[in-house]
Amino acid sequence: MRTLYEVMEFLLPFSFMSSMFMKNALLGVLLVSPLLALLGTMTVNNRMSFFADALGHSALTGIALGVLLGLGNPLVSMVVFSVFLAVAVLLVKRAGTASTDTIIGVFSSSAVALGVVILSRSGGFNKYAVYLIGDLLSIRPADLLMLLVVVAVVAGLWVLVFNRLLLVSLHPSLARSRGVDVKFYEYLFGILLAVVVAVSIQWVGILIISSLLVLPAAAARNVAGNMRQYHLWAMGIALFSGVAGLFLSYFLGTASGATIVLVAAACYFATFGANRIRR
């Protein structure tokens, strides 16, 4: 860890980088933003941004359950509840009785309401407000290590299963005709997304997590001509927005997550404009 800090001080010899929390926050951004962008590419392909939003909102209930159970760190209950919600939505969606966005809306609003009710029981909701906007600056080395593990697992899975995820997203029957277990991959992606959202929410914030998933991928779609370019652009834009947003938030004294989202949104409009001019 110390070597890493020294390298960072050497590469970024700015006074604001001398504080420990900025170094940790920068490392956090370097892990979280490409992680979300990677999953974001498929989230946008599958038109699942509303699903991701619902997963983010469900974190409130996950926290509430953690508090009820007396867990010191609500991370476990968040992950469990997030996965539960993802599986529930996919199950009901498979039954095919109502349209997907209605189902997600029902689950999402129930989860938010339940979370708020539990957390506000004794009028103490304010201490959980940090989860709404996230707090990158409080990230610690142990959290970074956990994020690193998550990034490694997701990247590994992305190498192993991406082709089949893509085929399923292009056409489920076509994928099935080529021997792909469509149901398995639908659940795999849903659960992966749920875990990543739950793990990231503490640093990014409930209100903006889906923006960080969707914006880099949406911006990349304006300029990419194939899957490789799509991923390169999405991760590049996410890294740029993450680092630029973090530095900006330091100077402006604003919430880091929201500032990052604003930079990513600017990237979206820039690529949208570039695309319009080119065509």
Binding site: G96, T97, N163, L170, R176, R178, A224, N226, M227, H231
Partner: protein, 280 residues
């Protein structure tokens, strides 16, 4: 005809393959047998008692009203919806193989115009395990290029799927369905919403494939003109099951079919005086 030879065949290649006779399938070719197939979804019976022999080298068209279960039948064949009964493939030596190898051409892809999926991405995702977002494989490129050449689509390899015309997408999907060459080629209303030129080109290619390969083709279509022109056998689906099977002349002469589609030309066609009678 060994399976090993099947992968690299070109669609519009030179010679026909010899068609070997077999005993049980009537015409003496390899065939796919569908026996007592039924599909129940959410408590509703969509299909029941469906029995079909689909012969190799033949194009079998499935017709029927909307909601008659045509697409569900294809989904059952592909294995996407659960079904009762059995689907088995008998090769030319009349031996049971496992499930028939399926090639499937869907109605359309579920993508929007901005989708950054290129034609190469589609082929590579289906043909290889090397993740398309990380690296491109020259071998897969070459395979995809060969396949596309068969549908006059080599120039489409690096284009985005979202930027192709409807006809181009269907040709790409057809080329993909033939890699590897399947036992059963399923076409689910493959040309709905395609211009006349693209439609003719597509059917001409399907027709060539039927001549070329030892495979069965099942086509779901609303386009009765094209069915009459290209199909060897027609299956009429209504009330959850097969009501009539036979050559186009026979099925289009069936009173139930005439009643369902109610078109003058159906009777004309059955009487041998239809506009397309010469083309057969």
């Amino acid at each position: 005809m060994k399976k090993a030879n099947r992968t690299n065949l070109k669609i519009l290649g030179p010679g026909r393959q010899p068609k070997v006779r077999c005993a049980t399938c009537g015409t003496g070719l390899c065939c796919t047998k569908v026996q007592d197939l039924d599909v129940v979804l959410g408590g509703t019976t969509i299909l029941e008692n469906v029995n079909l022999h689909i012969h190799c080298g033949e194009l079998t068209a499935i017709i029927g009203a909307n909601g008659a279960g045509k697409s569900t039948l294809l989904k059952a064949l592909v294995g996407e919806v659960q079904h009762g009964g059995s689907i088995s493939y008998l090769d030319e030596k009349d031996l049971h193989t496992n499930k028939p190898l399926m090639g499937y051409v869907p109605q359309k892809l579920e993508i929007d115009g901005t989708s950054p999926t290129s034609v190469y991405d589609l082929f590579a995702a289906a043909l290889s395990n090397r993740p398309v977002w990380l690296s491109h494989s020259p071998k897969v490129r070459e395979e995809a290029r060969k396949g596309l050449a068969g549908v006059r689509g080599e120039h489409l390899l690096d284009r985005r799927l979202g930027a192709l015309s409807g006809g181009e997408v269907q040709r790409v999907l057809l080329a993909l369905a033939l890699q590897p060459v399947p036992d059963l080629l399923l076409l689910d209303e493959p040309v709905s919403g395609i211009d006349q030129e693209g439609l003719k080109m597509f059917y001409a290619m399907v027709s060539a494939i039927r001549e070329e390969y030892d495979l069965s083709i099942i086509l779901v279509s609303h386009d009765l003109d094209m069915v009459a022109r290209y199909a060897d056998r027609v299956v009429f689906l209504e009330n959850r099951t097969v009501q009539a099977v036979g050559p186009p002349q026979e099925v289009f002469g069936n009173p139930a079919v005439v009643e369902r589609f109610g078109m003058g030309w159906v009777r004309d066609f059955a009487a041998g005086g239809g506009p397309d009678a010469d083309a057969l």
